[in-house]
């Protein structure tokens, strides 16, 4: 941790302590029935609801639309205990949490070790036997029927047994979302028929709680929930949890006990939701099945978390403040509150998908270059707004020409041809990352050089506006054909031919129907430009051109693109170490042909990552000699020329073998 972080952390801590202190003394300064206190009470409760939901969705990847079942169960547990026992409302509150915990446990047990798999029938049989005994008891002693009607009794017990046997937490994505919703709906249906809870009419929780008591207890609940979740996320379980969210398979292979993680999170979530619901209904006094089990609870909770920032600790708290502010602001327009909340959450998902906390973090985690750039943008913005600052800003802020992204990608078509081979899968994924980065840089043209398009006499530039067809690779013909459909930036190609000619490199435009396109180009365009919406400039690899000549070509191509006012993505297509297996291998066990090649490749990639491009260029001749590197890495020369000294580092999205040869997907960082 750097000194700057430490001071920032200390300042943050001091601020937090100050805030807590203010919140603690606030009730003493305000009227006992103050509106502000009630607002804060609501904020605290919704922050707890949000925490509980965020723990499931934001951390464990379990998107629930059924947390209202815990709201209802917590609320009704409080109402039942308070009404049917002499306990006062505060002693009844723990029962809210207990009921929520038990219900969550019921839903989670099929995941537990003891009841999983084939033994699941045992507890079911036990439950069924108990049920039959209970039915017999009710027949003898009708007063023993806590359900007060045989229909409700049978449906509820059946439902409970069923929910106990349902492996809810094994479901994923939309299935989990809808299943939780169904659970909530079915429990609600039973509650609206149950005489004990007033059937559909609901119950009252009459008590003499004061607003100050509610305020402090909700504040305490929020503090405890925040601390527990903070501890959980700080522990090694926290990391495991996010691993589960991001890639369940991967998490399983590194030995994370997913069942236990999910169960724990679900239990915590259910318990806190029910406890908060208990406090909520103490204040609301009246509880009915529709008000307690309604889907609008999910709408509120989703808004709280999405607005604040999913997957962040402070997100739900910030979101609860936003929620209460909006909700109360709109209280005047009775009934329109949810409409606006719904609209707002859609807008937030599009405009700031990481919520308020996402924006805060974005400001805090800018890299130095990004900070410089964003400052420049602000300045430009001010210049535009105030009309000052000399040079008129004629273009939009994001439309200035120049190189916007640069990539080194492998020319091997294997990941396209056999996408199921596990050995090449990481390469495909690396390609996807590069595609995303390329799309995000919003280029007008891709300036591409492939070592596999060989030219002998002149430097060739593809000049046909649209070129499509089928291609069978010379080496990998048994894998089948690749289709391609390319749009060429012919204006740029013509300009390049002219400029190269002036510079003494004999150049020619190729504009023939059926002119062959090489595997490297097809592969790169397949992955990088799947929607075929970005035109491309393709330059050939003249085998007599050396490193420096290729470098000058790259430079020239980008110069011409900038003259035409275009944003450029630079792509160099070619591999690393060049030795492939001559004999048949099982593609699934593909690996780099030799240890020496592997070491060299990694060394080269490391130099890129560290931004040591001078050292890299110095090493290339040896690398090329030692590993028979793909055409002496001329594709790298193209990139270096095209980016003109703007490279400061790189991100290696994938590195691996393609039939023994080294391949890597690299995204360069530019200043």
């Amino acid at each position: 941790m750097s000194a700057r972080d430490t001071t920032a952390g200390l300042r943050g801590g001091a601020l937090l302590i100050l805030l807590v202190a203010v919140l603690l003394v606030l009730p003493a300064m305000l009227d006992a029935r103050s509106y502000v206190l009630h607002l804060l009470f609501t904020v605290f409760l919704f922050a707890v609801f949000g925490h509980a939901w965020n723990l499931l969705a934001g951390y464990a990847g379990l998107l629930s639309f059924g947390n209202q079942v815990f709201v209802g169960i917590g609320g009704f547990a409080l109402a039942i205990v308070h009404y049917y026992t002499p306990l006062n409302v505060w002693s009844a509150l723990p029962f809210s949490g207990l009921a929520g915990f038990l219900f969550a446990w019921l839903l989670a047990i099929p995941l537990g070790e003891r009841f999983s798999g084939r033994d699941v029938w045992r507890p079911i049989v036990v439950a069924l036997v108990l049920w039959i005994l209970y039915e017999a008891l009710v027949r003898q002693v009708p007063g023993a029927d806590v359900f007060r009607s045989s229909y409700v009794r049978r449906v509820s017990i059946l439902l409970l047994i069923f929910l106990g046997a349902l492996p809810l937490l094994k479901l994923q994505g939309a299935y989990f979302a809808i299943a939780t919703w169904l659970v909530a709906e079915s429990v609600a249906t039973v509650f609206s028929e149950w005489q004990v809870v007033g059937a559909g009419g609901g119950m009252q929780i009459k008590s003499d709680v004061t607003l100050r008591q509610l305020y402090y207890s909700s504040f305490a609940l929020l503090t405890v929930a925040t601390l527990i979740i903070w501890r959980l996320l700080r522990s090694r379980y926290g990391l495991a949890l996010t691993a589960v969210r991001d890639d369940e398979e991967a998490a399983r292979t590194v030995g994370v006990d997913i069942r236990r993680m999910k169960t724990a999170v679900f239990l915590i979530s259910g318990t806190f939701t029910s406890l908060a619901a208990g406090l909520y209904f103490m204040d609301a006094v009246i509880i009915t099945p529709p008000s307690a089990f309604g889907i609008s609870w999910s709408a509120y909770i989703v808004f709280v978390v999405v607005a604040g920032g999913m997957g962040t600790l402070s997100g739900p708290i910030v979101g609860a403040v936003v929620f209460v502010a909006i909700d109360r602001l709109l209280a005047g327009y009775a009934g329109k509150g949810l409409l606006v909340l719904g609209l707002a959450s859609i807008v937030i998902m599009f405009v700031m998908p990481r919520g308020v906390m996402g924006i805060v973090q974005w400001f805090r985690h800018l890299t130095p270059e990004e900070a410089v750039r964003s400052r420049q943008r602000w300045q430009q913005l001010w210049q535009v707004l105030l009309g000052v600052g000399g040079r008129p800003v004629s273009r939009g802020l994001d439309t200035q020409p120049g190189v916007v992204s640069a990539f080194l990608v492998p020319g091997s078509p294997l990941p396209v041809l056999d996408r199921d081979n596990p050995a090449w899968k990481p390469m495909s994924e690396g390609w996807q990352a590069a595609r995303a980065a390329l799309a995000a840089s919003r280029p007008d043209v891709i300036v591409l050089y492939s070592t596999q398009w060989l030219a002998v006499l002149d430097e060739l530039w593809q000049g046909r506006p649209r070129i499509s067809g089928q291609h069978v690779d010379d080496n990998w013909h048994e894998y089948g054909a690749m289709r391609y459909d390319l749009r060429i930036d012919t204006n740029l190609a013509r300009a390049c031919v002219a400029a190269a000619g002036e510079g003494g490199v004999r150049s020619k435009l190729v504009d023939y129907e059926g002119f062959p396109i090489d595997s490297g180009t097809i592969t790169a365009m397949h992955f990088l430009n799947p929607h075929k919406d970005i035109p491309v400039l393709i330059a050939a690899n003249n085998i007599y051109h050396d490193w420096d000549a290729t470098r000058r070509l790259g430079e020239l191509a980008v110069e011409q693109a900038i003259l035409q006012g275009k944003r450029v993505a630079v792509v160099g297509v070619g591999g690393l170490s060049g030795t492939t297996f001559r004999e048949e291998i099982d593609p699934a066990t593909d690996h780099i042909a030799s240890q020496n090649d592997d070491t060299w490749n990694q060394e080269i990639l490391r130099l890129m990552e560290q931004g040591r491009f001078d050292d890299l260029v110095a090493e290339i001749p040896r690398f090329a000699k030692e590993t028979r590197a793909d055409f002496g890495m001329k594709h790298l020369a193209w990139i270096l020329g095209a980016t003109g000294g703007r490279l400061v580092g790189a991100k290696v999205h994938a590195y691996g073998p393609t039939y023994g040869a080294g391949s890597a997907v690299v995204e360069f960082r530019l200043v």
Binding site: L163, L166, E193, V302, I346, D485
Partner: protein, 305 residues
């Protein structure tokens, strides 16, 4: 014949018959969701609300022109198609997994965002309907509501439901033909099988998705009018129908039209029988339990590959 045995037989026969009729109507409710789900892997949580919106559209249309409710389809279906197309084009295409990736969000967020957005849409539609119309229950009046065809002394079938069943078969056949027999349909299936290859073949996946979504909502238009004709409805009834539609899709398997019919029939019959034997509120619970059961045992659906 033994009296008890006779009535038991009649109960079961009635259950099977009206359950099947209900099942056809459920299948229509679910076609749109199945299409969305099967083609775009998108669970449209606002599906139920679109159905209700369509029913309100029909009501609005009928308040202007005094015609048979069936004529409203001529207006409702195209309007719903346009809504579906536009919503997909301007909104839902932007919240796919790929879109999340482009913005540097994790894949799990990418899977969640369409759910969150359509959930938000569901609330907006419900609340919007509440603001425009009232919370009073509405219905599309029609002379067929109480007509029934007598099959035996104690065995009848509602005329309306029988017509709906016919419409259901017709629509399922149409959608099936569309998906397998037309160029656009094949494009939709190709895009659902492998978006990358489809893109490679020169298809604009976003447009294909928009068309699929438009058709999905067009079928929801038909279903909405059916709902309006057979029962009363309120702005917030959407989620109930979403759960039914989802149940049908889960029972029948994703994206399969025959599956939708089978799923609808199973759900309809189980609900009617549960209602007959355990009382009206058992209908809903039995449906929910059935769906949860299938989710637990075979989340990919009973009849999918």
């Amino acid at each position: 014949m033994n009296e008890d045995l006779y009535w038991m037989f009649i109960d079961v026969a009635n259950g099977l018959l009206s359950g099947s009729m209900l099942g056809g109507y459920y299948a229509v409710i679910a076609i749109g969701l199945a299409l969305n789900f099967g083609v775009m892997r998108l669970v449209n949580l606002a599906h139920g609300d679109w159905l209700i919106l369509a029913a309100y559209l029909a009501v609005a249309f009928l308040s202007m022109a005094n015609v048979s409710p069936f004529w409203t389809l001529l207006l409702v279906v195209p309007v719903m198609y346009v809504i579906g197309y536009v919503i997909q084009r301007v909104m839902l295409n932007r919240v796919s997994v790929q879109a999340a990736e482009r913005r540097g969000m994790s894949a799990s967020f990418g899977l969640m965002s369409p759910l969150l957005v359509t959930f938000g849409m569901s609330i907006v539609i419900g609340q919007g309907l509440l603001a425009v119309f009232d919370s009073n229950a509405m219905a599309i009046r029609n002379e067929l509501s109480f007509d029934a065809i007598r099959l035996g002394e104690d065995l009848t079938v509602s005329t309306l439901r029988l017509i709906f069943f016919g419409i259901a078969l017709l629509m399922l056949a149409l959608v099936q033909f569309f998906l397998h027999g037309t160029h656009m349909g094949r494009a939709i299936r190709a895009a659902s099988d492998d978006p990358e290859i489809a893109a490679l073949m020169g298809m604009n996946a976003n447009k294909v998705y928009a068309v699929a979504s438009g058709i999905s909502l067009a079928t929801a238009g038909v279903a909405g009018v059916m709902i309006g004709m057979s029962r009363s409805f309120q702005p917030f009834d959407g989620p109930t129908f979403l759960l039914i539609a989802f149940g049908v899709v889960i029972l029948g398997g994703l994206g399969s039209m025959v599956g939708a019919l089978v799923g609808g029939l199973i759900l309809g019959i189980v609900q009617v029988l549960a209602g007959t034997y355990f009382g009206p509120s058992a209908q809903l619970v039995a449906g929910y339990i059935l769906i949860l059961f299938v989710l637990a045992v075979r989340p990919q659906g009973l009849f999918s590959r």
